[in-house]
């Protein structure tokens, strides 16, 4: 349990630094950036305290916002993603979520993909809607959401593969 707390703290800090120092400066094709820090929300222990999880997600987003001068958009997006996570877990992993014994590395690829992709798309949609803050830019919002989501999902799967513990 202790090592779980430490690994989450390390992940929290490393992801913030990685995001603000490296990933925010990619600007692929002008405006496409991956938001890899969602990984913290994706990997937070499924059995963990839900209130603490909401708080941590909020502070994760707020830290990014302070670095980026973007008000509270990342905080709001993280919060929504964290709040929705239990429902999405149930949707993607079905019955095994209720038994609380999911090991993300051992789940079928399809379920994992739907979980990660839905989380990322919801997070990005809230993020870009609040960034544009106007319904007239809906096409741009959807375009940014789609392309950045693809980029983020690819990076999430790369890091899951790179850093997964081998249980088999």
């Amino acid at each position: 349990m202790n090592s779980k707390i430490i690994s989450n703290i390390v992940r929290f800090i490393v992801l913030i630094f990685l995001q603000v120092l490296l990933l925010n400066n990619i600007n692929f094709a002008g405006y496409i950036n991956p938001y890899l820090y969602v990984l913290f929300i994706l990997l937070f222990p499924f059995t963990g305290n839900q209130s603490l999880f909401l708080f941590l997600a909020f502070f994760m987003g707020l830290s990014i916002d302070i670095f980026e001068d973007s008000g509270g958009i990342n905080a709001a997006a993280c919060l929504v993603a964290a709040f929705i996570r239990p429902y999405l877990l149930r949707f993607s992993f079905g019955i095994s979520y209720d038994h609380q014994n999911i090991n993300l590395a051992a789940t079928p690829f399809g379920a994992k993909l739907s979980y990660v992709f839905l989380m990322v798309i919801i997070h990005h949609f809230v993020l870009f809607s609040l960034e544009m803050f106007s319904p007239t830019h809906i096409i741009l919002i959807l375009k940014k959401t789609l392309f950045s989501s693809i980029f983020t999902v690819i990076l999430v799967f790369l890091s899951l593969t790179l850093f997964s513990k081998k249980y088999r």
């Binding site: 630094f17 603000v20 120092l21 925010n24 600007n27 002008g30 405006y31 950036n33 839900q50 209130s51 909401l54 708080f55 909020f58 987003g61 707020l62 916002d65 302070i66 670095f67 980026e68 001068d69 973007s70 008000g71 509270g72 958009i73 905080a75 709001a76 919060l79 929504v80 709040f83 609040l130 960034e131 544009m132 803050f133």
Partner: protein, 269 residues
Amino acid sequence: MQQIFNFLIRNKNSILFLILLAVSFFLTIQNHSFHKSKFISSANSVTGGVYAWANNIDTYLHLDEYNQRLLEENNKLRNIISNIHDSISVEKQLFEGDYLFRTARVINNNFAKTDNYLTLNRGKNSGIQQEYGVITSQGIVGIVDRVNDGYSRVISILNSRSRLNAQLNKTNHFGSLIWNGKDPNVVQLIDVPRQAPLKKGDTIITGGRSLIFPKGLPIGRIQDFSLDQTQSYYTINVKLFNDMTNIGYVYVIENVNKDEVKALQENEQ
């Protein structure tokens, strides 16, 4: 009473979610209203320190380019000096009015969002205040909006809430410089009267109507132009001289007479 408590405990996560969501919406809306974002900015010692540290490394990679820019600027200034032999008129040749220049380094630069900010490695301790202009040797960058002891935050001209006075170099027709959020190298000059003689490639400079920038700083060239819906004003696409994606060192401009002029204008009203 018991039921209320039970209700609160049962729904504590939803309530917590709603409260935190309200906080983040509040911060977002604050950030979207010009000059009011008081709580959150990258001009604080933690984020400023991190950016300054990372930028120390990054600067080395661009030293050649910064040297080249300095040489070009020195060359320009030398040309001005060699053409006039009277030291008083050197200032006149550059700008009208009294302006004080300070140098600073850009330690964080955004240009891909719709509302972009820069962070500088100088703050109050170096004499920088709110509403000072920020330029490079090639063009304008933005206006200082938040300052703390060691760092300051600049509203980039690539920000949907930035609005600057600018005019044509040839005539005195002026308009407002805004950004539509699309291309970080192209900004828009709007509300230029139809009578203005426009040509592709004409230079756009800062107008003298603001107290922030001196008149006559170069901004960019006209890329193309069209009339707006009312058919009486031009909207002009301006290609910036500055490469906003690669800035490096900047000058922060202080208008020495600003308070006097402001006091005078308030008296008139």
